[in-house]
């Protein structure tokens, strides 16, 4: 290893290793031999900046998780996460995909069992916000009456994703970020562990979530894998024999969830969360 690589590894270790652990103490001791004194105040300044950036970046991506645990606890979580799962890219917008698992593994959060799923939906919303733009193409729906639906698929909105949860997390997020449903109603459903499939998509520039029923979730799962409309309908009807595709499509187009129809081999605009 070159001298420069060793210097950089030492500083990164002193900065990112969890406070109090032996690896951090070793890195700090090595760093002291490489930099001029005083060094502890400078290192603390860098660490404080890293912590502040972590809190700000994760707070922007996970506003409801932050509201659920409170600012102080969220700050501690963000700092711990920064040390445990440090960023790998120079763009903090990309950082946070591991937070749901990190929350699920934290025994101190066992009394908030819906927190990890809330984070999963918020991460999908965060990804949807920056997903590639895609325009609606209403004229393309004529294909549905002109061509074999086995050869067609639907173009979904940027960032479309379905997150399954044992808790009503889409409703919980909407109760926090908007006015509906009322928080009291969501609290009761949380208490009864009402499962929800959270649908995430972006309408124009606005990421949205809402609960979706099982047939719709099955349909979207298939479409997200870029398979044909016939396969998607089969999956929806197998899950919910009462699924009404034409009613669903009318509403989905109105909501900006479905942008158009296209041959089945064309990539949809959706991204996987």
């Amino acid at each position: 290893m070159s001298t420069l690589a060793l210097q950089q590894q030492t500083l990164l270790g002193a900065l990112l290793r969890g406070p109090g652990n032996q690896a951090a103490r070793d890195a700090q001791a090595r760093l002291q031999s490489l930099v001029l004194e005083p060094s502890s105040r400078g290192l603390a300044a860098y660490r404080a900046n890293g912590h502040a950036l972590a809190e700000r970046a994760l707070g922007a991506a996970f506003p409801v998780v932050r509201a659920l645990v409170g600012d102080d606890s969220f700050g501690a979580l963000a700092r711990a996460f920064w040390h445990r799962h440090p960023p790998q890219r120079g763009d903090l917008v990309c950082w946070g995909s591991d937070l749901p698992g990190f929350l699920a593994d934290d025994p101190q959060l066992a009394d908030v069992p819906y927190l990890a799923d809330t984070a999963r939906v918020e991460w999908a919303l965060h990804r949807a916000a920056g997903a590639p733009d895609a325009d609606a193409d209403p004229a393309s729906f004529a294909l549905l009456t002109q061509q074999d639906p086995g050869a067609l698929t639907l173009r979904l909105a940027p960032g479309t994703a379905v997150v399954r949860s044992s808790f009503p997390v889409a409703s919980l997020i909407n109760a926090h970020l908007g006015d509906a449903p009322p928080m009291s109603e969501v609290a009761a459903r949380l208490h009864h562990r009402e499962a929800e499939q959270a649908l995430v998509w972006r309408r124009a520039m606005r990421p949205l979530t809402r609960p979706c029923e099982t047939g719709e979730a099955a349909l979207l799962d298939v479409l997200l894998h870029r398979r044909s409309l016939v396969s998607a309908l089969d999956a929806a009807l197998a899950t919910n024999p009462g699924f009404d595709f034409s009613v669903w499509l009318t509403q989905a187009v109105r909501d900006g969830l479905v942008l158009g129809a296209c041959p089945g081999d064309e990539r949809t605009a959706a991204i996987q969360p």
Binding site: L4, Q7, Q8, L11, L16, R17, S39, A45
Partner: protein, 332 residues
């Protein structure tokens, strides 16, 4: 530019182009009020996403003003090299925005956390200092050249405010930067507040030099004709350390150093940075007006390079010629 685009502020005077850092709290206000401004600056990484509202806002801003793309995460000084993903994102943004300048820092953040080659690389999300050694200069030059070749244009590299000082040093910071620009054809972005913060911290750590004298000597050692942009910002004195927090007005000492800088560098485009506790847009515009007023006496072109760099470290003519050629090629 659209028919209703704001007039560049510099048309009415002979001073430098002046811009402000355009941050989230002012996205809407700037687009609505369209104040006279020569350019706006954004952090490149905030717009690496392929779509969505942020990128749409930047496109609107670009329709009104020239944009300076300033990076904070390229990690040009990393021994492990520049992240190809990061460079891809930057190249796409440059293609989309056609910026007036592209810049980042003489710093590192990317590297290995331990010696296990399978452990992957991390990013320290900060502008961490690199030693002013020949080895670090070679790495920085190679990374800067890689970026310039990919972007097909010269970039400007900024001096840091550093809170740690490596023991290893073969060069002073201005000489290090002068060598960098000579070898790569890159430009320099001189952050006047950063050199004053470093001088204040050096004083706190026992350096006997007068901070203003030290800063003037630093500025005098920089090759004037390579400076493409100047940054001005505020800092906070915490008692035991001075932090470059970009959270207040430019202090009188930095204004004084700015006048010294543009006396040497000429009417170089100048940016007001404010990233913490961002005030109303009017405050930033007021700071920009002060920079414009201070710059009216600046020469239009840089004065001849003097001091240590010109006397002691003048590049071999053939090397300089190669650097100039490379620079021209990249600028096409």
């Amino acid at each position: 530019m659209t028919a209703t685009a704001p007039m560049p502020a510099s048309r009415s005077h002979r001073g430098p182009d002046v811009g402000i850092g355009w941050r989230h709290p002012h996205y809407a206000a700037l687009l609505e009020r369209r104040p006279a401004m020569d350019f706006i600056e954004v952090h490149s990484e905030n717009f690496f996403v392929p779509g969505g509202a942020a990128l749409a806002v930047l496109r609107e801003g670009r329709a009104l003003y020239p944009v300076s793309l300033h990076g904070v995460g390229l990690s040009l000084g990393s021994a492990c090299g520049v992240d190809p993903w990061h460079l891809d994102q930057l190249a796409q943004l440059v293609d989309a925005i056609d910026p007036v300048r592209v810049s980042d820092h003489a710093s590192f953040a990317r590297g290995a956390l331990d010696s296990d080659p399978g452990s992957g690389l991390v990013h320290g999300t900060d502008l961490l200092p690199i030693p002013f050694t020949r080895e670090a200069l070679d790495v920085l030059c190679a990374n800067v050249q890689q970026v310039q070749e990919r972007l097909r244009r010269p970039i400007a590299v900024e001096n840091l405010s550093a809170y740690l000082r490596w023991r290893d040093a073969d060069l002073g910071e201005p000489q290090f930067l002068a060598e960098l620009t000579r070898r790569t054809g890159c430009q320099l972005l001189v952050d006047v507040n950063n050199i004053f913060v470093n001088a204040l911290n050096a004083q706190l750590w026992g350096d006997g030099a007068d901070p203003l004298d030290a800063c003037r000597a630093w500025l005098d050692a920089i090759p004037a004709d390579r400076v493409a942009e100047i940054h001005l910002a505020g800092h906070i004195h915490c008692g035991d350390i001075v932090i470059d927090d970009h959270g207040s007005r430019v202090c009188p000492e930095v204004w004084s150093l700015y006048r010294h800088a543009i006396g040497r560098f000429g009417a170089v485009p100048t940016l007001i940075e404010w990233d913490t506790d961002v005030p109303p847009l009017a405050v930033l515009l007021d700071e920009a007006a002060r920079a414009r007023a201070a710059g009216r006496r600046a020469p239009r072109t840089p004065v001849a390079t003097t001091g240590a760099v010109a006397a002691g470290a003048a590049p071999a003519r053939s090397l300089q010629a190669r650097a100039d050629l490379r620079s021209m090629e990249l600028a096409r």
